[in-house]
Amino acid sequence: MADIIVSILVSGLVLGSLYALMASGLSMVWTTLGIFNFAHGVSMTVGAYVAYEIAQRLGPDLWVGYSILLALVVMAAVGAAFEYLLIRPFYGRDDMVLVTIMTTLAGLTFLENGVLTIWGPRLKQLEPLIPGNISYGLVNISRQELIIVLVAPVILLALFLVLNHTQIGRAIRAVGQNQKSAQLIGIPVTRMFLVSFGLAAALAGLAGMLLAGVRLMTPTMGADPLMKALIVVIFGGLGSIGGSIGAAYVIGFLEAILIFTVGIYWTPSMLFLLMVLVLLFRPQGLFGAKNPSSL
């Protein structure tokens, strides 16, 4: 029994960490721009493939970590380009929320098929950062999973510190709350949108690169995490980055428990049912504020 509990805990932590990396970016883009980015999941896919491509080019002698760092820079640029091409032309339209849902869906289709065109449907794998497993008492975990579990909170803490204790972080939050006031302070609003999108894409990309060291990569690998991130932000309240991160871990553990109890086939339905229940009784999310500012 104890070993089962431990393995559920470990797998919940791994899942929660990945979802937290995903959901934090989704939620940040929502709070700054008021846009729900359906292409967020595919950022994860693109990140993994870009890291794979860089690793291939650099050759097997070089540690995969360097490829990941380079790929993160590429992803930030991809995110910024995405904002520039698919979001920026539609600012100020009164149906912007709806229009950008469609443009990000189109972006999702474009990128997913782009990955398919460039890299083909064949499964691929990225080298783990550190190969091998660790066994300690009842805990049995691959080193890559351990890295995921340790890296995610560090990155999220860094995100928290940036958003709350640096000028650029405060500026990103300010833009989300009141654009006109932000402009009058001298904050370059559109640049903050670029930064927010770039940061979110890098975070999702990182999740993809880390996951690609554990599981095989496919052009549709981002679909399931997007779905989970969606459930996470509904649980956590879309407008709260902290709430989303908390909810990510809750969902991660729930999923681990459900997979053990009802099996992998029924887990998605159970999670969906839970989401519906949450929405029925707390439409603002489990951790969300009572009165979200927009939509």
């Binding site: 539609f90 009164d94 929320v97 474009f110 098929n113 969606l230």
Partner: protein, 326 residues
């Protein structure tokens, strides 16, 4: 100026006579697909465009129709003719289930729940392999027959007329609903929620009704799609299918019902033409995605806007721009 009823009558006559002129099964196949997608696009438009309900799970109703037909015909031996209306009912029930938790929610949450629902359907289909065939889908779905006449062996003539008639019937029904008091109220609520609230209009009831109504033709189209292709495959739930239909909706002009149906014909032709080149399958979807963005950017009113300028008389009813956020 062109006389509108005359134009419609001419178009209908053309569609009726077309398969007699064009003998090849391939061209008929293109039109069959176009008719089926026209139903899906027009009925999605009823919720997304006309009612302003942020429904992004419409593809789920189509997929449910496909799988209802696939499962009932192969596993329960139900007659293919009979599963067509049954699929409509199943889709309507599903719409009811999705609508219940979303009606009280604000815009973006409706998007999330409906979208999550369509993804859930895909995951259930993939995981319940015993029933759905999993990733491989259901094959050998029986074809339509009228006593000894087998629709699978007539160069697709029968399917052409069945899908044409169903398509016309569904679109006529959708247009009638759009012009009914219910449709008018829905449009009023979309354009001015505050006014509607002040008038005491029950928005939740309208949204529920519209969602359920729009699911019925979609489920029917799904069932016929399944029976025609004789397979049910999980791709029907994919982003790509959603994108394809969204393109029809936007190119046709959101909120105009007929516009998306007309656009479906053109887009199916282009899409199927590109289908000949298996290497370009992914490229096709990329082109559609670019198409969506360009239409949203430069022709937000779609075809309906253009035709509204052509048919000046109808300028008041068609050519509605995509609804605004509440």
């Amino acid at each position: 100026m062109i006389n509108r009823p005359l134009a419609i009558a001419a178009a209908l006559l053309l569609l009726l006579l077309l398969p007699l002129v064009l003998q090849g099964p391939y061209i008929r196949h293109l039109f069959i697909l176009a008719f089926l997608f026209a139903i899906v696009a027009a009925s999605w438009d009823l919720t997304l465009g006309l009612t302003g309900l942020f429904n992004f799970g419409h593809i789920a109703f189509f997929g449910l129709g496909v799988y209802t037909a696939g499962i009932l015909t192969t596993q329960a031996g139900v007659d293919p003719w009979l599963v067509i209306p049954i699929a409509g009912i199943v889709a309507a029930l599903a719409a009811f289930v999705v609508a219940a938790p979303t009606l009280r929610l604000r815009g973006i949450y409706v998007v999330l729940v409906t979208f999550a629902f369509s993804q859930l359907c895909l995951q259930v289909v993939m995981s319940q392999g015993d029933l759905t065939g999993g990733a491989g889908g259901i094959v050998r779905v029986p074809s339509l027959r009228i006593s000894d006449y087998n629709f699978a062996r007539d160069q697709r003539l029968g399917y052409y007329y069945v899908s044409l008639v169903l398509s016309l019937a569904c679109i006529a029904a959708l247009v009638a609903i759009a012009r009914s008091p219910l449709g008018k109220t829905a449009r009023a609520v979309r354009d001015n929620p505050e006014y509607a609230a002040a008038r005491g209009i029950d928005q939740m009831r309208i949204r529920l009704t519209m969602l359920v109504i729009s699911a019925i033709p979609t489920g029917i189209a799904g069932a016929l799609y399944c029976i025609y292709f004789r397979v049910a495959a999980p791709e029907v739930f994919s982003f790509s299918t959603s994108t394809l239909i969204l393109t029809m909706l936007l190119v046709g002009g959101a909120g105009s019902i007929v516009g998306p149906a007309v656009a479906a014909v053109g887009i199916v032709m282009i899409s199927e033409y590109l289908e000949q080149f298996p290497d370009l399958k992914a490229t096709k979807h990329m082109l559609l995605a670019v198409g969506i963005i360009l239409v949203l950017r430069f022709f937000p009113g779609g075809l309906a806007q253009i035709s509204a300028n052509l048919f000046a008389r109808s300028a008041k009813t068609v050519g509605a721009t995509p609804e605004r956020a509440p």
